[in-house]
């Protein structure tokens, strides 16, 4: 059965909300936008603010990636009430792997960017590089030197 899957991530943009500011001013907001843009570029996809389900119905999201291999797309949504970041997609018809790959890429990019910024905030000099891993595929190595 076709359905839109919503997956919780470990990312929750709470800093701005906790201080009574709009979510869009959260320090993670721009990072998340960058993470989605980079993932879209890596996967040869396009950015969108809508994704579609199996029946072609639109679903709004904060950012979305639509690729040739998965034209319905994967959406990223951030809860305005608690900052929880979720991925949404309809993988009906054998699109699970490609949808998960897009989600993985966004989450990995975001975490690498956040780790880089976190180390910089602690006054580390930071170097970010990419390394291959036999089972995980791509992995980022963030080196901080104090």
């Amino acid at each position: 059965m076709s359905h839109v899957t919503t997956l919780a991530t470990e990312i929750k943009l709470e800093t701005a909300l906790a201080n009574g500011h709009p979510l869009e001013s959260d320090p993670g907001w721009t990072l998340l936008e960058d993470a989605v843009k980079i993932a879209a570029e890596e996967l040869g996809g396009e950015l969108s603010t809508n994704i579609r389900d199996y029946y072609g119905r639109k679903l709004r999201c904060d950012w979305g990636i639509v690729t040739e291999g998965f034209p319905r797309g994967v959406g990223v949504r951030v809860s305005r009430s608690d900052g929880e970041v979720t991925f949404a997609y309809d993988s009906y018809g054998g699109y699970d792997a490609i949808a998960e790959k897009i989600c993985d890429s966004i989450a990995q990019n975001y975490t690498a960017l956040a780790v880089t910024e976190a180390l910089r905030s602690l006054n580390y000099q930071v170097d970010l590089s990419e390394e291959a891993h036999p089972t995980e595929g791509r992995r980022f190595l963030v080196k901080g030197v104090l």
Binding site: V85, F140, V142
Partner: protein
């Protein structure tokens, strides 16, 4: 010896950190600071698996650090996540 943190970010943003050159329990304090800094960006990490290094591991690190000090030219900087 300089203090270094090497953080590997794997699939789904899974994070593994390696603290190098922190004497005694300093790495635990730095780990807490890092967790706080990451929480600012909305990432919660669990450091329950933080384990002290063995004497052999520390010795290897010291040897590696000494080697790096002798070869300061190997400091190529790359940034695969170049932000626009």
């Amino acid at each position: 010896m300089s203090r270094r943190i090497h953080i590997r970010v794997g699939r789904r943003g899974k994070v593994k950190a390696d603290f190098v050159g922190f004497p005694g329990d300093d790495c635990f304090d730095e780990s807490e600071s890092l967790q706080t800094a990451l929480a600012h960006y909305g990432i919660r990490v669990n450091s329950q698996n933080l384990t002290p290094k063995t004497a052999e591991e520390i010795e290897r690190e010291l040897e590696a650090a000494a080697g790096e000090d002798l070869d300061k030219t190997k400091t190529g900087v790359s940034d695969p996540l170049r932000r626009k």
